[in-house]
Structures are given as structure tokens and as C-alpha cells.
């Protein structure tokens, strides 16, 4: 008897429950985009009093330089018979993102013609403002590579500013 009344109760409640159902709805947020590859060049270090290292636009100040004076910070000075050379290094890092390339080519070019009697060299190559010099064609990504940086000053060069810009360019291979 008890069992049967219990069944009656459940059936009756079922009748109510079927009326009070929850409402539902759905929507879709579709996400699309295109991942583009990129490389990023930064100047990590350089001789002189530097600023902006770790970015793509660093500045190096050598102060006043002379054959018989002290070498600027981070440089060595070698005196020759008719010229003198300031030597240091420039550290360049190239990182890649979303790129399958395994190495890169790095070139350098002066931003303007050097003053008469001044020669700029990187990795042994003389730089000019008319053509880019290749520093490496097998650069390793995400690793800082140091390139020898020499400034050769002829004894005959006029006492004047030697300011210039070295433009680096990295291209993925």
C-alpha cells in the first residue's frame, strides 16, 4: 500500500516538473586571423658610451678622440705610422617569430659618406654609404653576434666631428 502511494506521488510531481523546464539558447563567437612572420633586429652592445642598447636604434658616443689621447670607453687605440685605429665590437641580435627560416643575412651600410681620411669597418669590411657590406649570410637567430668595429683615422684628417650612422639590415634566408 505504501509503495503504491509513493508511486502516485512521484507521478503527480512528474506532471508539475515537466511544465517548469529551463530555457536555453546558444551563440557562436568565431575567431579568425592571419599569423604573419617577422624578424626583429636589436643592437645589444657597442663600444663608447651607449644608449638604446637592446633596441633597434642605439647610440654610441665616443667623445673627443685623438691619436695621442686616451681611447674612448670600450675601445682600444692602435697608433700607426700615418694613421690610428679605434677598435671595438658591435653586438647584433636577430630574433624571429612565426618563421621557418633557419638563418639570416646581415648587412651594414653607412648613413652618410664618411669624412675625408676616416674609414669605418665592420667585420673587416670597409663600409660606405653607397653599398651594403655583408657581415654574415648564415646568422643564427636569437643569438648575439659580435662584429669587429674599427674606425681608422688618417693623420691627415681634419680635426672635426666624425659622426655617422651604421644601418644594419637583416633578411631571413
Amino acid at each position: 500500500m505504501k509503495k503504491i502511494f509513493a508511486v502516485v506521488f512521484v507521478v503527480a510531481m512528474g506532471g508539475f516538473a515537466s511544465i517548469a523546464s529551463a530555457a536555453t539558447s546558444s551563440g557562436t563567437l568565431t575567431v579568425t586571423g592571419t599569423v604573419a612572420s617577422s624578424i626583429d633586429l636589436t643592437i645589444e652592445s657597442a663600444g663608447g658610451t651607449t644608449s638604446g642598447t637592446g633596441t633597434a636604434a642605439a647610440t654610441s658616443s665616443l667623445g673627443s678622440i685623438s691619436k695621442y689621447g686616451a681611447a674612448p670607453t670600450g675601445f682600444t687605440l692602435a697608433r700607426g705610422a700615418s694613421d690610428w685605429t679605434l677598435s671595438s665590437n658591435v653586438g647584433v641580435k636577430v630574433a624571429k617569430a612565426n618563421l621557418t627560416s633557419t638563418d639570416y643575412t646581415l648587412t651594414a651600410q653607412l648613413g652618410s659618406a664618411p669624412a675625408t681620411g676616416i674609414v669605418w669597418k665592420l667585420n673587416g669590411s670597409t663600409l660606405s654609404d653607397s653599398a651594403a657590406a655583408t657581415l654574415t649570410s648564415t646568422g643564427t637567430y636569437a643569438s648575439t653576434s659580435n662584429y669587429a668595429w674599427d674606425i681608422v683615422v688618417a693623420d691627415s684628417a681634419a680635426a672635426a666631428a666624425i659622426d655617422n650612422t651604421i644601418n644594419f639590415s637583416a633578411t631571413s634566408n
Binding site: V8, A23, S25, S26, L29, N98
Partner: protein, 160 residues
């Protein structure tokens, strides 16, 4: 005795069904159907186009712009979600979201919680009719190859 009880049971069932039918006929159930809508908010990249219950978030071109030591590219999108009940009734609803289709090339976090193929409770008590803003972070690893990116996030709302 058994027959009598069986009879009582049958009558109870019949009454229950009849009562339900009677209620359905006499008082039409209110239309409490729900809709979900998306409202564009702030994004640091791309654009969102709402369309009915759906929306399309186009990231456009995703490219690393920051420091080279970052392991992923993050885009952040803030958008609103509103649950509307037919007839303007109030109340609250449970909102869930899940990654429905997914190319595996990025990770998605909604309000800081990772989105997966399992439903994530976005809001356990969302007030119906009110816009609530959420933040979707999409992280694209720099290690993946360039190319298209696609995912579909399904949102479900259920009244309490």
C-alpha cells in the same frame, strides 16, 4: 484490494496528465525563449562584428611587435555579452563557453581562465537584460608557422 489500488493509481496518472493539459490550454505558457548577443568593446587588435546570436572576431594580421624575447603574441579583446528573454522578463541565467572547433595554433583565455572543449562557467548568475563585459586573451606562440588562425567558441545560456 490490489484492483482498487491499481484503479487509484490510474486515476492519479490520468488526473495529472489532464491537469497539465488543462493548464497548458487555459494559460498559454509565457514565451521565455532566450537570446544571447555580443557587443563590441575595446580591442588592441582586430574587430568584432555581431550578427544575431553570433559574432565574428577578426584579428586580421597577428605579428610580433614587442620584445624579441617574448614567447607568444598576445591579443586582448573586451566585449559585452547580453542575455535577453522574450517579453522582457528578468531573472538570471548561467552562461557557459567552450572551444567548439579549434586549429590548435593558439591558446584562448576568457576572463583569465583557459578555454577548452569542456564548458567553462563564464557567469553563474548573469542578470538577464544586462550587458556584462568579458576579456578574451588569445596567445599565439612565436614558434608556429605563419598562416591562418581559426577557432569557434560556443556560448550557451540557461535560465536558472
Amino acid at each position: 484490494m490490489k484492483r482498487a489500488l491499481t484503479g487509484i493509481l490510474m486515476i492519479a496518472v490520468a488526473l495529472s496528465v489532464a491537469a497539465a493539459e488543462h493548464r497548458a490550454i487555459a494559460v498559454a505558457p509565457p514565451d521565455d525563449s532566450l537570446t544571447i548577443t555580443f557587443i563590441e568593446g575595446d580591442s588592441n587588435q582586430g574587430s568584432m562584428i555581431p550578427a544575431g546570436n553570433d559574432a565574428w572576431l577578426d584579428l586580421k594580421s597577428v605579428k610580433r611587435m614587442g620584445a624579441s624575447n617574448e614567447k607568444s603574441i598576445r591579443t586582448r579583446h573586451r566585449f559585452g555579452v547580453r542575455v535577453v528573454r522574450a517579453g522582457g522578463a528578468g531573472g538570471s541565467a548561467v552562461i557557459t563557453a567552450l572551444l567548439d572547433s579549434y586549429d590548435g595554433r593558439a591558446t584562448y583565455r576568457l576572463d583569465g581562465k583557459p578555454l577548452t572543449s569542456a564548458p567553462l562557467i563564464v557567469d553563474a548568475h548573469a542578470a538577464v537584460g544586462t550587458v556584462v563585459f568579458h576579456t578574451l586573451d588569445i596567445d599565439v606562440p612565436v614558434s608556429i608557422a605563419e598562416g591562418p588562425l581559426a577557432a569557434s567558441i560556443t556560448w550557451q545560456v540557461t535560465t536558472d
